[in-house]
Amino acid sequence: MNREFGAETLVELERICARYPRREAALLPAMRLLEREFGCVDEPGMILVAKLLGVSPAHAYGVLTFYTHFRRSSDAKVLLQVCSTLPCALKGSESLYDHLKKITAGEPAITLKKVECLANCDRAPCLQVNEEYIDNATPEMCDQLVAQIRAGRWTPPGQIYSVPPNTHQPVLLRHVLEAGSETMEHYLARGGYKTAEEIVKSGRNPDEVVETVFKSGLRGRGGAGFPTGQKWKFLAKNDKPRYLVVNADESEPGTFKDKLLIDRDPHQLIEGIIIAAYAIRSKTCYIYIRGEFGIGAWILQKAVDEAYEKGFLGRKVFGTASEIDVTVHRGGGAYICGEETGLLSSLEGKRGNPKIKPPFPAVEGLFRSPTIVNNVETIATLPHILKNGVEWFRKMGTEKSPGPKIFSVCGHVHRPGNYEVPLGIPIKELIYDLAGGVRGGKKLKAVIPGGLSAPVFAADEVDNGYVKVDAATKAESRVPITMDFESIAGAGSMLGSGGVIVMDEETCMVDALWNTLRFYAHESCGQCTPCREGTGWIAKLAGRMERGGGRDDEIALLDEVAANMCGRTICVLADAAAMPARSFVKKFRAEFEAHARAKKCPYKHGHAPKPEPAGVGSH
């Protein structure tokens, strides 16, 4: 069988190719065209796009099998994907999956799969039906859903957006719940694009804009917290084109802020892009949006189109000689593409393998040109800094972590959701006051403060502060944890992407770790030996422990294997898997020992030890 695109699709593909300096960069978009035209990406389809883009079919095959989100020929018409990562698992997604497996058995119209974090953790458990999200799913909803699909009359419910009440004045999230907030009219009506227009029309030296951002102290909101202005200053000065890449691959489990910013206020992001591109003298911007955000990509594309129409993007930005092209590039389902160099590999049409640094992207990045990769929230903060000034920005937050930051709180809290607060508020305020504390009158057991990769805090640390040892006197004191980069790092974890996962006293920490480690084993790109093999190994160790087959000496082994993974790989995914593992073992060792002793999970078998919250120093 041969596949051919129709004439219109061929033109569409050429239009896509024209947006990249190399044709093969259009491989992922071309696979989306295959999905649209033929319902799936199959072998004849791959041969077709390989030929059209000038790559070998094997290359296309290697790329396709790297990503999990493309529809394959074995998938039925309706693809039902149940989020199985920790935030959803804490809310019962595993039993939901089992239920769905039972009720969809033998159903030819449905393919059931597990999927990793869909960035919808405040509405856990959630599933995806083709591109649509189903929030707060229950077994009853699933029964209904499957019945409707069978009857051929299922219609998507539409995504519901909500932001819980917040005592702090939001900045980026201020308008997200207003009707039509995603439209150009709405954004213009609230004074949108004025800041960007003023900057571009003023013809001011771009370095001044860089300096403003540098002085504001804005730190990257994607995870590493690197100062944005500093990153911009690292750009290599040569005559190669410079690229601005927006990292919209929000996939750190427990983080769901960028999705809200994209879906509900895309023009705020685009205005930020215009400012950033102007500042770094880039004429080309790619927004790399994760494959699972099909709807987000559609909303974003519409907003970009509107901005082109208005003349805010394109050849003559705001009627000046400035140029800026923005391309929405949709990923294919791979956590590692949130790592900036993995993202760049993916954007180049390859497997999302992180690249060896140095050279850093600012020196040699996308298509070997100087490249800045910034997170959605970082870019969306820019219009506010440029509009209100450095002083205004620095009034919020701490000296070293200034400004507002969106924290996504999920898990066992009363009011999960996005909380935009000044950096540096007490972790207790976020969890207890804003998110309403642990639901159902239960006690807190643990908190992961910065997305799944961050080392876990025991309840005692959250409630009473972390133990700080004075270097000189060796005296111990308790220091309250606050939500800023320094405090969280001081407490031995990291602020990361700001995804706060809360676990109550009934959570089995061995099970939670197993789930966590399965995620990393599934998402390791597989190039570096310690990560490729290590993520799988520690996941198996935790799994056997949870299922009752673990030995006491394997608790130490788990910790040691995790330690051996650290600092030995191209990117930090290995460390991101190892750090939770080591912190779980360190802080909840008693639970691991209980599993090894009882040869089963004490939680799942009815006699959970009312475990003392295992605090720091208690072992």
Binding site: S56, C528, G536, W537
Partner: protein, 490 residues
Amino acid sequence: MPKIKLNGKEVEVAPGKTVLQACVDNGAFVPHYCWHPGLSPAGNCRMCLVKVSNSRKLEASCMYPCSDNLEVTTEGPEVAKGRQDVLEFMLINHPLDCPICDKAGECDLQDYTYAYRGGVSRFRDKKVIKHTKDLGPNVRIWGSRCIACTRCVRFCEEVAGTGELCLVNRGDHSVVDVFPTIPIDNPVSLNVVDLCPVGALIDRNFLYQARVWFARETESVCASCARGCNVKITALDNRIKRMVPRVNADVNTWWMCDEGRLNTRYLADDRRLTASKGSARDLDAAARKGNFGIVLSTYQTIEEMWLVKRLAEAWKAPVGFLTLTRGERKKFGGLVIEPDKTPNRRFAEKLFGELKPVPAGCKGLFVLNGIPELEGPPELMAAANGAEFLAVSDLRKGPLVEKAQVVLPACAWAEKDGTFMNVDGRVQRIRKAIEPPAAVRAEVAWLQEALGTEPLSAEGVFLQAAKEVPALAGLDYGKLGNQGAASNGH
């Protein structure tokens, strides 16, 4: 040039070189899998970890640039621990099926494991099982042995230019594969087997043929084209089991072609000519009757050609040539496949000038044909049919041999010592890797008998030739070594 301190010793490094290259150049052992001098670096196996002065953690030396005053340590407990840990990870999902793996005995995974660890595995869980299947006519994969170093993938992209291989899936399910309907089938495909640092990619022709530690390896040169790729011949029980390339930067770099590798089957052919008829003295007697012609193939060694030249002078016989060209000149990185499918045409031209066709109308004819796949071209058959006396030396039986009064079975290139001059004028040694069939004698032996001179070894004949042939002036087997030498005037 930057100066670095390598294990406490100061060494100069060419600009742009990585730490691993500096270590290799200066004899410091650094184990590695994914790095290969003929391929782009990948930095993925993490085996080449070393300690460098400006980093707290161990660094992969294959990607680490040498900066001035950098201190590099390739030994010591910290480095050893790093390598042990990487090896442990490498082995957890590896099947450890060394007893039936054809790579055993020449496997980097075995060697480094032996060097760095005891034999205890701490892995108790189920291994990931990956595919075992044919990837093409010559290559089979044992996916579970694959360490995903991507040398083979990079080779197909960067050297072969065919890109049939890719890495599929991710995490610990990553494994080398081909596109489902497109096998790896290119002229240099078997290099991926040599490149594979473990037993994942196996030459189907070598599968279960020999334990390498029982086999004998002989350094020689491939005779299948005028390039003269440097090879190692693996033989067991007097059979050639395989040929693999040897590195020679001036000839074939790291590679060789599949055709050359596999062009050994004729040695054990059923139609192999093993019985002689008459003798070299009979040949000489017939030739001295006059009106005698010689037909010489460009497959013959320098020594043989030299002796034939002397016979031609003694017999006043014209010499015509059998050659074989096929296809186009093909380039794969540092490897060129020549259209001239014989190994010594260049020397024939040096010795005899322009190569003449088969002499017609001779009463007597002596045919010396070492070309395995050439059997009686029409002009040769015509000349033979017109001759009253025919002497033939050939590898295989055929119509010519049946007609001949004197038959002297030929010795294949792997069954004798000698030298070839490659297309660039480089003189290189071939070495006897296996014994010829019982009754078959080396050509130099009976050619000297025909000449009636004191019998010398091939080496002795070469020394004689070197005295008289300007192109060989100053050369001897010692100077040729195992990398050959440019001939005089090149």
